[in-house]
Each structure stands twice: as structure tokens, then as C-alpha cells.
């Protein structure tokens, strides 16, 4: 075993009544990629946030190369040798690429309070070029670049100064093929330099492939640290959940007849620059999976069907002929939609769990035209509990929940609304295996109860495992359609995607 680089001793962190990290002690070694895994809310991100200065730990010590470190914020953490790349967007609009890369580090280019903007731009461009991102211009306002390019800029920002510890927190789910490749290259380089990567991901295959050691957290407690070469995904699932997980948590039925009743029809749907001439017929009790590469236009299909797309052409109609052209009509006619962009498009982050769950159902909760606080609370509690949401209570703010629990709230909202048609975009993005299994079971129950589901997903196994029919998209067009079958292989779908 090589030399210890970072020692975490008795790290403890509470959020109100929630014990997020419970006296975790863990060593990280030089030249190691060390994965942290666990269910949503297990404390992985809280642990690394305490290390990198996003949160302040309640007690315990981090010792890097023999010296105790206390990061006051991310930039302070950078100066002490730790850096983090986060799951969501971490760059700031309105600033240039260079200003984003050196945000908080302007003093390196400042003399007598005057910033040498030219020197900063030059240095930023040199860094971008050295990473092979020379098409990104340091002087450009960052808004000019798409999500993936902005993530690449974040990679430069977090790694250019060669931190001793690089935390990669659920970043891969936000990246396409190109971005992942670049990220893994940087991770490999960090390891080869004798530094350490702390890698957080819910993709267990990816975890085993990329890491040397894996530590498992459950409810804030360190369960075990294992060598990646000694375990498989089932072992990890067992460690994460605390019991044996069934190998196959998808539907097991094949050959079931789907009802002939069409409940939603999309005809010649076109959204300029996103999708072209898309057609779909959703039947009662059917799950349709829509898959493809990230930028193929599939995410726009969900919005188009929900009446949330701008400049949409074509028709979306229900079985009774009602046209769905806007969100209000969609909700009034029992259509639900959960966006891929959970924080920005599905949830009111600065509001309580209760308000998020009851929001579309207030008319149903009213009694004699009056909303009673007691009824709202009871409604929210019922559906939050039905989804096994980990929370202090429905009064808790959304921003305090983990990614998986946020998704449970989104689903609780639409279950509460008792919608008949549910459009789920990336329903298990950033979600741990246990919650995934819960969501799949819930979808299966809904299907059996006559609800119809459109599931948009970048995960091929999920499409194969859950859908009655799978539509594959490529460059905004439908490139293939498959019926549910035990013989259907991932390679069949991939062939239509690329």
C-alpha cells in the first residue's frame, strides 16, 4: 500500500436533526482513485463538501500530507490542495471563461488592486489549449458555451493547479461521451502524478472500472472499504443497501398484450433544432421508452408532449380529441411530467416538501373553496411517505434533500395528482440502486393500474428492462422502434443510436 495522502478522522456533520456524517474515519492514498458510494442521502457529497469547503464540518480533522486543513470555501480549499467538480453547473453566467477559471483567485493577477485582465486571459487560454480545448476562447462570455463545454471549463478550473485531492462528485451523469473521456483522462493523470481522486458515482460498473478502492457509506456511517478488483456490482449493492438486492429489479414479464386504446397521440411533432416529424401513440397501461444519445432530441420530446416546448409544430391529442398545446391543459387533463433538470424545471428548490407535493393538487385539496393547512400537510405526508422520502418532515426545505429524495418528491407530487399519463425524463438520473428499484416497482404498479408512462432515458438497461416499446432517436429523428422482448439486446438499440 502506498503512502497516505489524506486522513479523515472522526468527521461528523449534522443538519438539524439529520446526522449526515457520523464520525467517519477514512484514509486516501497517493496514486489512488478512491470511490465513495452509497444510497442517496448516505453522506457521500456531504463528506466531500466538508473536505472542500462547501460545508463546515461539526467535528473531526482532515490531514493532508501531515498538515491539518480547514477549507473555508472552495477557493480556500484549492489553496490547501483540494478541489471539487460538482454534479450541477458550477460556472457563472455573465463572466468570461477566464474570469470563471480564476474566480476567487484574482489576486494572482492583481497589483495595487488593479487586475491585469490581459494576463489573466492569456493564462486561461494557455490552460484551455493545454487541455486540448482550444476552441474555447478565454475572453468569451461563458454563456456562449453549452452545458458540456461549461463542464469542461469547470474541469480546467478545478484541476489546472494540480490539487492533491480531486473530488469528482456525480459529474459523469451530466456529461456526454466527449466530456466523460476528458474527465477520465484528467482522473488518470491525477493518479499517475501520485495524487488522489475521490470519485462519487451511482454507476457501479463505472465505479469498479475507474477506481482502485471503494468506500461504502450508509446513513452517514462508513460501512466498509473494499478493493475494486475484489468485488462486483452485486457485492456493492449489498453493502450499500444492507441486504441482498435482487439481480434483476426490472419487470420480469414478456409477451403481455398491451391495450389497443390510444390515450395520447403525437403527430408530426417538430421543434426547430431539436426534433423533427416525431410521431407517437401511447396506449393505456403501456410504458414507452425513448432512448438515444444525450443530444438526440429525446428530452425535448417529453416537453413537446407536455405542451412545454416553444415553437412546437404538429399535434398532441388525447383520446377524446383534446389538443395539448400548453402545460395547464396538460395538467388539467391528467398528464404529468418530470423533467431531467430536476432542480430547475421540476422543483421549487427554495420551498418546502409540502408545497412541492401539493402544488398541482391544491384545487383537489380545497374544501368549500378554502385550503386548510391541516389537509395540505396530510396530503403531502401521505405521498411523501408512500415514496419513502428521507426527511425530517414535510416542512423541510427541498434544498436540504439529496438528489434521490428530491426525485421521490417529484414522483410523490404526480402520484398525489393521480395523473393517468406520466412522462418521466431520466427518472433515475443520479439515483442509487435502492431508490431505482422503488421507482421501477412504482412504474410497474402504475402500468398494471392502467396508467400510461413515457420514460425517456439514457440508460439502455432501463429501457430494455421496463418498456413495452422502445423508440430510439438519432439527430432529432426516430431511427428505430422495438417491441419488448427477452431477446432484445443493448447492441440492437445502440446500432440505431449511432
Amino acid at each position: 500500500m502506498s503512502e497516505v495522502l489524506l486522513q479523515a478522522k472522526q468527521i461528523d456533520k449534522n443538519f438539524g436533526a439529520t446526522h449526515a456524517i457520523d464520525h467517519v474515519t477514512l484514509d486516501f492514498y497517493k496514486g489512488e482513485v478512491h470511490a465513495l458510494i452509497g444510497e442517496n442521502g448516505s453522506g457521500k457529497s456531504t463528506f466531500t463538501s466538508c473536505l472542500t469547503g462547501i460545508y463546515h464540518k461539526d467535528s473531526g480533522t482532515f490531514t493532508l500530507l501531515g498538515k491539518e486543513i480547514h477549507a473555508k470555501n472552495q477557493v480556500d480549499g484549492n489553496y490547501q490542495g483540494v478541489a471539487i467538480i460538482v454534479q450541477e453547473i458550477g460556472t457563472l453566467s455573465g463572466l468570461t471563461v477566464a474570469e470563471n477559471i480564476f474566480l476567487g483567485k484574482e489576486n494572482e493577477f492583481t497589483k495595487m488592486n488593479v487586475k491585469n485582465t490581459k494576463a489573466m486571459n492569456r493564462k486561461a487560454q494557455q490552460l484551455l489549449d493545454s487541455y486540448g480545448f482550444n476552441y474555447i476562447k478565454a475572453t468569451d462570455i461563458i454563456d456562449k458555451y453549452n452545458f458540456e463545454d461549461r463542464k469542461l471549463i469547470e474541469i480546467v478550473k478545478a484541476t489546472h493547479f494540480k490539487p492533491q485531492i480531486l473530488v469528482v462528485d456525480e459529474t459523469t451523469t451530466a456529461l456526454g461521451e466527449k466530456g466523460r473521456k476528458e474527465l477520465f483522462k484528467v482522473m488518470r493523470q491525477t493518479k499517475e502524478d501520485g495524487r488522489c481522486v475521490i470519485f462519487i458515482s451511482h454507476d457501479l460498473d463505472e465505479v469498479i472500472e475507474q477506481s482502485d478502492n471503494i468506500s461504502v457509506l450508509r446513513d452517514g456511517v462508513l460501512i466498509d472499504t473494499v478493493k475494486s478488483s475484489d468485488v462486483n456490482t452485486d457485492d456493492l449493492k449489498k453493502l450499500m443497501v444492507g441486504r441482498e438486492m435482487s439481480n434483476n429489479y426490472y419487470r420480469s414479464d414478456y409477451g403481455e398484450e398491451v391495450s389497443g386504446e390510444v390515450v395520447l397521440k403525437g403527430e408530426h411533432l417538430t421543434v426547430p433544432g431539436e426534433i423533427e416529424d416525431f410521431n407517437i401513440e401511447l396506449h393505456k397501461g403501456e410504458i414507452i421508452g425513448i432512448g438515444g444519445l444525450s443530444e438526440c432530441g429525446m428530452h425535448e420530446v417529453g416537453k413537446a408532449l407536455f405542451g412545454a416546448s416553444y415553437d412546437r409544430e404538429g399535434k398532441v391529442t388525447l383520446s377524446d380529441g383534446t389538443a395539448i398545446n400548453d402545460i395547464k391543459t396538460a395538467i388539467d387533463h391528467s398528464i404529468a411530467y418530470a423533467s431531467k433538470d430536476r432542480d430547475n424545471e421540476s422543483l421549487v428548490i427554495n420551498d418546502t416538501i409540502q408545497d412541492n407535493i401539493t402544488l398541482p393538487s391544491l384545487e383537489d385539496i380545497k374544501k368549500n373553496h378554502i385550503l386548510h393547512a391541516k389537509d395540505e400537510k396530510a396530503f403531502a405526508e401521505k405521498f411523501a411517505k408512500q415514496m419513502s422520502t428521507k426527511m425530517e418532515g414535510v416542512h423541510q426545505f427541498m434544498s436540504a434533500l439529496s438528489g434521490g429524495n428530491k426525485q421521490k418528491v417529484v414522483l410523490a407530487r404526480w402520484i398525489g395528482k393521480n395523473s393517468d399519463i406520466i412522462i418521466l425524463d431520466s427518472p433515475t438520473r443520479g439515483i442509487d440502486v435502492k431508490v431505482k428499484a422503488d421507482i421501477y416497482q412504482m412504474m410497474d404498479r402504475m402500468r398494471k393500474n392502467g396508467k400510461s408512462i413515457i420514460m425517456i432515458s439514457e440508460e439502455i438497461s432501463e429501457l430494455l428492462g421496463m418498456a413495452d416499446r422502445i423508440i430510439i432517436m438519432k439527430d432529432g429523428h426516430q431511427s428505430g422502434e422495438f417491441k419488448r422482448s427477452a431477446d432484445l439486446k443493448d447492441t440492437d438499440l445502440i446500432a440505431k443510436m449511432v
Binding site: 470555501n73 474566480l103 488593479v114
Partner: protein, 315 residues
């Protein structure tokens, strides 16, 4: 990408667009009222007014980019102007220049500190404090009109006004582009939480923005009192109407921010507003019609310039 598309993305596009809008309004009113509008002398007069509003607009820009708002600009102008008159009587030009700058800074500092400490809306804080500043202006003048002595009116006309305004514009542009304050102003406006995580002392820089706003409004007060020569103290929020002329320039600055020249946009924007106002005066239009058309044109210009993305959240 065509040459025009490239040009549209360049920094020059915004400047050319502003110049074209200014020329368009000048040409329209010049055709409609050739005798009474827009000759060289009159353009100089329009610019004179635009200059002092633009100086205040530069100050407001720091606050509006971050997200808060300052409703005390009018009260600050009144208070700083009467103090400028009082101090000019004792210390001459030094008093005329330094007193409103200090007064503006103190007003900004108080606004910022109260806003940060009480954690309530900046609109409420600054509107509430406006009453205090107005009351102070009454104490400072005993309720009488403050008149600037003729010997101290150099900043009321060219070249004094232009020199002082240019100093303010260069200072604003410099702070935005060449200091941390500029970067952090945009960073906090973009995402306060991420800025905080990057080590930006958000509260401190919010106070700094209010102080800078106060300072530039103090400079505007020098130009205002020098040009107008007298100022009456205000009460019952009568100073509120003075908030809006500088704000219109700030709107232009915000709309043209993406082209990288907010200060020029503020100055030209104020000039465009003056062209509109004076154009209507030249046409003999009633004030109500002037206000309606000016308001609509302002909204149209800003909307067309920003071209908001469909579905984007606008607050």
C-alpha cells in the same frame, strides 16, 4: 458562420446598434421638427442633461447587476446637492466636490449595511431610508432653497461637466473591468451561492456596490446642482421622481451588458432618452403623451435588444 453573424457576436455590434438607434430618433424628430430640434447647439444641451443622469446610472448599474435595487437615489441627490451648496459656501470648489461625494458614500454605506444586517428587501430598505435622507436635507437647509453661488458653477456647463462626467465614466468602466469588484458584481448577480462557495464575501461586495452607487450619485449631485443651480429639500418621498432618469440609462447598460460596453450603453442610452424627450418638446406634444411614448419606446428598445430566450425566467 456568416460575416454578419460573426459581427453580431462581436463587441462592436452593440455599439453600432446604439449609434443607429440614436441616429434614427434624431433623424425622425429632425424631419418632423427641423427648426426646433436637433441642431448642434441643441444636441450639446441634450448631452449635458444625459451626462449627469448617466453618472447616476453608472452607480445604479453596480446594484442592479447584482440583483438588489436602490430607491434612495433621488433622496441622495437632494441631500448631496444641498450639502454641496452649504460646503461650497465654506470651502469653495473643494466643498462643492468633496461634500456630495462623502455624503453619497455615507448614504450608500448606510443603505448597504442596513440591507445586509436586516436581511430585508433592498426596495423596502432604501425607500424607508429615503425618508431619513429627505429629512436630513430639510435640516441642512432649514427648509429653504439652496442656491449655488454663480462663482461655483463650472460643472454646470462645458467643459467642466464633461471632464467630471468622463472621470466618472472611466472610473466606472475601470472598476468593472480591471478590479475584483467588477468580477464579483457580475458573479453575485449570476449565482450568489456559487459565488459564495468560490470565496466571494457576498455581503461585503453588496455593501461595496451600494457605496459605489452612492458615490456616483454624489457625483451626479455635483453636476445636477451646478447645472440647475438650486435645490429644494424634499419630504414625503417627493425625491422619488429623481430615481428614474438615471435608472433608464442603467436599463440600457443591462441590456447591452452582453456586448461588453455597459458604460457606453448607459451614456448613449441616456442620450437617446433625451433625444426622445426633447423631440416631443420640439413637436409641442403634451407631457403625458411624451411620457407614454417615451416609456413604450424604452421598453421596445430594451426588449428588442435583449431578445429574451423563450421560457427563460425573468424576474
Amino acid at each position: 458562420m456568416t460575416k454578419f453573424q460573426k459581427f453580431k457576436q462581436s463587441h462592436w455590434y452593440g455599439l453600432v446598434l446604439l449609434a443607429l438607434i440614436a441616429f434614427l430618433f434624431w433623424a425622425i424628430f429632425k424631419i418632423l421638427a427641423p427648426q426646433t430640434f436637433g441642431d448642434f447647439d441643441k444636441l450639446q444641451t441634450y448631452l449635458k442633461t444625459a451626462l449627469y443622469y448617466a453618472v447616476g446610472g453608472c452607480g445604479l448599474y453596480f446594484i442592479c447587476v447584482m440583483g438588489p435595487f436602490d430607491m434612495s437615489v433621488g433622496a441622495n441627490i437632494v441631500l448631496s446637492s444641498v450639502l454641496a451648496v452649504n460646503m461650497s459656501e465654506r470651502f469653495g470648489y473643494a466643498g462643492l466636490i468633496i461634500a456630495p461625494m462623502i455624503s453619497g458614500v455615507l448614504v450608500g454605506l448606510l443603505n448597504g449595511l442596513v440591507y445586509i444586517k436586516l436581511r430585508i428587501s433592498s426596495l423596502i430598505v432604501t425607500a424607508g431610508l429615503s425618508l431619513v435622507y429627505e429629512a436630513l436635507s430639510i435640516f441642512a437647509t432649514n427648509g429653504k432653497e439652496a442656491i449655488l453661488a454663480p462663482s461655483y458653477r463650472a460643472f454646470g456647463d462645458y467643459p467642466g461637466n464633461l471632464i467630471l462626467a468622463l472621470f466618472a465614466f472611466f472610473l466606472c468602466g475601470f472598476i468593472l473591468k480591471y478590479t475584483k469588484i467588477g468580477t464579483y458584481t457580475y458573479a453575485i448577480g449570476s449565482n450568489e451561492v456559487v459565488a459564495k462557495n468560490m470565496g466571494v464575501n457576498v455581503d461585503k461586495y453588496k455593501v461595496v456596490a451600494f457605496v459605489l452607487c452612492g458615490f456616483f450619485v454624489g457625483v451626479e449631485a455635483i453636476l445636477t446642482i451646478s447645472y440647475g443651480t438650486s435645490m429644494t429639500s424634499a419630504s414625503n418621498l417627493a425625491s422619488m421622481s429623481r430615481n428614474f432618469p438615471p435608472l433608464m440609462g442603467t436599463f440600457f447598460g443591462l441590456a447591452f451588458k452582453k456586448y461588453g460596453h455597459p458604460v457606453i450603453a448607459i451614456v448613449v442610452g441616456e442620450f437617446i432618452i433625451q433625444l426622445l424627450f426633447q423631440g416631443f418638446v420640439a413637436l409641442g406634444a403634451p407631457t403625458t403623451v411624451q411620457n407614454i411614448v417615451t416609456g413604450i419606446v424604452l421598453l421596445a428598445i430594451v426588449t428588442l435588444t435583449i431578445k429574451p430566450v423563450k421560457g427563460a425566467v425573468v424576474k
